[in-house]
Amino acid sequence: MADGNGKTSVKSAAAGLGDHIRNSEVWTSIFRPGSPMRADYSDSPRNRAYVVMNNVLYHLHPVKVKRHGIKLSYTLCLGGLSFFLFILLTVTGIFLMFYYRPTSPQAYFDLQALATDVAFGQLVRNMHRWGAHIMVLTVFLHMTRVFYHGSYKPPREFNWIVGIILLLLTLLLSFTGYLLPWDQLALWAVTVGTNMAAYTPVFGAQVSFALIGGIQITADTLLRWYVLHVLFLPFIITIFMAVHFWRVRKDGGISGPL
């Protein structure tokens, strides 16, 4: 602790404090054995296993994966990036919810105010919108990479189905969000989109009615799609993602090399 001249240097005092904190009961109760955050961490095979095993990450990753599976060229990280974008969208979306009212005309004016009155408001809105577009793209590309690797073959058939459901949910999330700015782009894009659904054989009128909450798009549609967008669909997609990730592991991890 003390250096040559008998005084305690700031640096060693800080180091001592750091050690003290990292050895405290509070700290060790948070970081489980093997965590790199612990004072006694060392790079050993055992600790490398513990980092995953003693961590909430263990829900997503096993301790070891096939070597070819971590090659960037195999998955291109597309599934992982889709998931990460979903998280980013959740975070930025919650931020937007603080400033947005799903009523007419407030919705539109809230977005205008977001750009001028809220710190980083426009930036967060941009991230939310572009992130959503990119996520649709990565999910599509993820699906094609899974196809070209033949990764849907037994035992992974069902996870492909789960994937299709995820794709649909992703599209629905994006589409419901599309209406929320309540501007000309939103209104008419959604009009065109839902008009297509009205051509459903036999039940066309009913499908359309349920979708937009009436004969034509109104402020009621806005509220309906808002609830779907911020609550219902995220809830459902989270469940399906959990199943998806669980099946990836239960089906033996990433599919084998070609």
């Binding site: 990036l81 572009w130 894009a189 989109g193």
Partner: protein
């Protein structure tokens, strides 16, 4: 019988001494076969075996056996009676016949009354186990694992994932810093913009609307497309994942995928007012999603 290492013998002797309240040294000596009469295997082969049934040499001291093998006396007694009944030999109290089956493992050779305590089997102090049955190790979930070349998730995979997350965050951040999300005029039910386009991922379908009846383009084609997509794993029975052995599947998928991409690009960039065909380079781009870069 393999020799036990000294320290293990000593531990066992201590435990026994504690349990029986006798001095350790005595038990240790007994275990090593020093003071107690060993069931000399030599005598087993040397001495002519007296007939077990007729000789009182097959006396059994159940108390001694009980302490020696750690088996409760009642059980030994029961076993003795059962065996006698089964073999049809008399059961003399404490002087019964050793079973013929046991005689094969040197039950008989005990020569004198002094050796009565030792009937058969292992040297004193060694407990025996019998192999009752072998249970096949069958797991609940059969796992047939071929050895695989594996690496630790930490640090190898997590490092890659972390970099991918950083790269994606940086990309999205920079994109958002320079490109604003579109916000047109307030929604007006009486004024439909021309053209009005669906979000880009539906523009392939909207493009189909230009060729087919809405019911075909808007519902039947996407419906069947989705169903076909979902059933791929159950239709494609080819087990191989090598591209060279699945040329047909790959070609088919590629044709549809490229078709969808072309339709989407067409709908996005080559359709103008009235959803009529335009050349984006001469007539302009009518694609509001990307308004920010187009202006």
């Amino acid at each position: 019988m393999a020799q036990l290492p000294d320290h293990l013998l000593k531990r066992a002797a201590e435990a026994r001494a504690k349990a029986e309240g006798r001095p350790v040294d005595e038990i240790l000596a007994e275990m090593k076969g020093e003071s107690s009469p060993a069931p000399a295997t030599a005598s087993a082969s040397g001495a002519p075996a007296p007939d077990a049934g007729s000789n009182s040499g097959s006396l059994r001291d159940l108390d001694a056996e009980s302490t020696q093998y750690g088996i409760p006396k009642e059980l030994l007694e029961r076993a003795m009676f059962a065996r006698a009944r089964k073999d049809g030999t008399p059961v003399p109290a404490m002087a019964g016949a050793a079973a013929p089956a046991a005689s094969a493992t040197a039950a008989a050779p005990a020569a004198g009354p002094a050796l009565a305590a030792v009937v058969s089997g292992p040297p004193p102090g060694v407990r025996t186990q019998r192999l009752l049955t072998v249970v096949q190790a069958g797991a609940i979930q059969g796992t047939t694992k071929e050895p695989a070349d594996k690496v630790n998730v930490w640090p190898h995979l997590l490092a890659i994932e972390f970099v991918a997350l950083l790269a994606m965050s940086a990309f999205l951040f920079i994109l958002s810093a320079f490109m604003d999300a579109p916000l047109l005029e307030f929604a007006n039910f009486n004024e439909q913009p021309n053209p009005s386009k669906a979000p880009w991922y539906f523009l392939g379908l909207q493009e189909l609307l230009a060729y087919f009846d809405p019911q075909v383009a808007g519902v039947i084609i996407p419906g069947f497309g989705l169903a076909a997509l979902a059933f791929i794993p159950y239709v494609d029975r080819n087990p191989s994942v090598r591209p060279s052995s699945r040329k047909f599947a790959i070609s088919l998928f590629t044709v549809f995928f490229m078709g969808a991409a072309v339709l989407t690009i067409f709908g996005s960039f080559f359709r103008g007012p009235g959803f009529n065909f335009v050349f984006p380079w001469s007539d302009g781009i009518f694609f509001d999603d990307l308004l920010a870069i187009l202006e």
